[in-house]
Amino acid sequence: MSEFLNVVISIVFDGLAYAMILFIISVGLSVTMGLMGFVNLAHGVFAMAGGYATVAIMSQLGIGFLPALLCAGVAIGVASLVLEQTLYAPLYKAGELDQLLLSIGLVFMASGAFTYFFGPDPISVQIPDYLHGQIDLGVRSFPTYRVFMIAVGIAMALGLWISLERTLIGARIRAAVDNRPMAEAVGINVNRLFKLTFALGSGIAAIGGGLAIDILGLTPNFAIQYLVLFLIVVAVGGLGTIRGTFVAALALGIIDNAGKYLWPEGGAFFIYAVAIAILLWRPSGLFGRTD
């Protein structure tokens, strides 16, 4: 029994940490696609850029991991605005096929550019000592960095949830997702609101990218490698919902972990089989609008 319990705890705990990475990186994509209907396959680029920025800031400014993460988040958030303004905005009214092409093009460009500036080698990051090793949480001990990841993920989900559910801007975002023309008709500048959320989503993804280095590694290929995974999380959760993205990330993270633990031969079979099953059952995602 305790053996069994131990396995369950392992699966859930490790799944949680993995799920938090998925959530932090995907949540911005969910908002972009939900609010503006923009098919942004280049979202992973922000996470990748965030990872590189974190490492670069740490070595250039000589500051620690956590402040560097924050700086990277802000920097990438601002940089993403420039991208949004110059490349994305002209395509909001274009067809989604043009959007697909543009964002794939951006992924390619980023891959080439990051190889040029950082080389093809995987980058690693110096995690502060206090996040190393194991921490005893009473039941048993867990890897500290993963506990930290889970804490950050939950804090971020809570923060986002509070700012979406409890603040004026959050209410305006929900209004715009509900009914864009009406939101404009009560004087909400939906475009500016979107730019804000876009920058926020990119910044958060950048922080996610920085956090993920220690677990997933980081190469210029990151945005391509994990593209499918982020898309799946967003689609399963439902567009434009933070709750949906969170639940989808949790479900897929834990199921993926359970599959790997119990049936490693199955490879990535589990996660995609489950994603298919969920989408067959609820085509607009777990918490997506069904209208």
Binding site: G15, P120, D214, T219
Partner: protein, 401 residues
């Protein structure tokens, strides 16, 4: 940006002083490597090793030139490499082919080099039976069996591992490596309790569930194979994070998990790791010290060569040997003949091309990660001299036929 690398060799001075009647040949070498994608770093290491050799030894070709025509094989799918090889043979009419990071790329190309009669010097692709796919293939890198098999015996005899689990990246080199370890380990008397495929080589998975499974199974040793590159740091970190060392499990494997280029990023967690490999930048031999010094001078003090880089270097040495021995006119059968039994004092130690199998024979060392000052270093704690590929030597598995 680097474009095509045209011959450094035949310095201008040499060229200008040439007697008019000497026939100066330009030898065209097609290089097929993964320059982009997840394995781009491997391509870069090999590319740097090659270029460094050409830069240092170019003058040894005398009046001949060498021209490298580089192609990106992008993915391990085989088709892109194969099309590149076909074009290199038919359109660019290369005299030699080299590179090949992923085994499928080498395998897919094998029929072409047979048909086109172009010698192929493999600088990485470690699946055991590749040289038998074509009489024109020579390998200067390694086979998975060269480390996995002796590691099995060593783990049982010297590391006191009676039971072991293995985890491997789920593609042929991984399976090869684990099969080799299993054979060596069980032959010595040990018991392999679990063998876990850990995702594809394309992406670094979260290793935690796999490692947790091993932790729960409590073997004495955990043998891990992952491809050189992104994976190894994550392996060592996950091992440490889960407290597996404290749980009494020893992490072992081929040298890919203590690759020189990744070692420093692993931090304290790597100390005490025991692996088996044919090269480390920390070897104290004069050949290696000169090599590493030249490398750092060329590519920066914070860079380091690893076994890929040395394979690029040695492979180019083999190609130079062919050019010199054939005096610039490359004939496939002659080239292969020249390479059979070729001996070379590599930075990794003495190497030999087995005349029968056209595969590499080399010393295999037992590596231990130690702390040396504020950096991590590889200490050689034992050596098994001149190891032939055990797979072919023992006629095991696919090597049997």
């Amino acid at each position: 940006m680097k474009f095509r690398t045209y011959g450094y060799a035949g310095a201008l001075l040499a060229l200008s002083s040439l007697p008019a009647e000497t026939l100066a040949a330009t030898v065209r070498v097609g290089v097929v490597l993964t320059y982009t994608g997840g394995a781009a770093q491997l391509g870069q290491q090999i590319d740097r090793g090659m270029n460094l050799y050409i830069k240092q030894h170019g003058s040894e070709l005398g009046e001949h030139n060498i021209e490298l025509i580089k192609r990106d094989s992008k993915r391990p799918g085989g088709d892109i490499a194969k099309t590149a090889v076909q074009e290199l043979i038919t359109r660019d009419q290369v005299d030699l082919l080299t590179g090949f990071v992923f085994s499928p790329n080498a395998m897919a190309s094998a029929p072409l080099v047979t048909r086109g009669q172009v010698p192929m010097v493999i600088m990485n692709a470690g699946t055991a039976w590749i040289p038998s796919l074509s009489p024109y293939i020579v390998r200067v890198s390694f086979t998975m069996w060269q480390f996995g098999h002796p590691m099995g015996g060593y783990a049982y005899d010297s590391l006191d591992c009676k039971s072991a689990a293995s985890g491997y990246t789920d593609y042929p080199p991984g399976k090869d490596s684990v099969a080799a370890f299993k054979h060596g380990f069980e032959r010595a008397g040990g018991e392999l309790v679990d063998s876990i495929p850990m995702g594809s080589p394309r992406e670094v998975p979260d290793f935690t569930p796999f490692f947790q499974r091993v932790k729960d199974a409590k073997p004495d040793c955990f043998y891990v194979f992952v491809p050189g590159g992104n994976h190894s740091t994550a392996v060592v970190k996950t091992f440490a994070d889960l407290g597996m060392k404290q749980a009494g499990i020893r992490l072992i494997g081929p040298g890919d998990i203590t690759q020189d280029t990744k070692l420093q990023s692993m931090g304290e967690d790597a100390v005490g790791l025991v692996t088996m490999h044919h090269y480390s930048a920390d070897y104290e031999t004069p050949e290696n010290k000169a090599f590493v010094q030249a490398w750092k001078a060329e590519y920066g003090a914070d860079t380091t060569p690893d076994f890929m880089g040395v394979a690029g270097w040695d492979g180019m040495a083999a190609i130079f040997h062919v050019i010199r021995s054939q005096n610039g006119k490359i004939d496939a059968d002659g080239a292969i003949q020249a390479l059979r039994g070729w001996k070379f004092n590599s930075p990794r130690g003495p190497i030999l091309i087995d005349p029968d199998t056209r595969d590499i024979v080399q010393d295999v060392h037992i590596h231990k990660v130690v702390k040396s000052g504020d950096r991590l270093a590889i200490q050689v704690v034992g050596t098994i001299p001149q190891v032939k590929d055990p797979c072919k030597a023992l006629s095991l598995g696919k090597c049997a036929n």
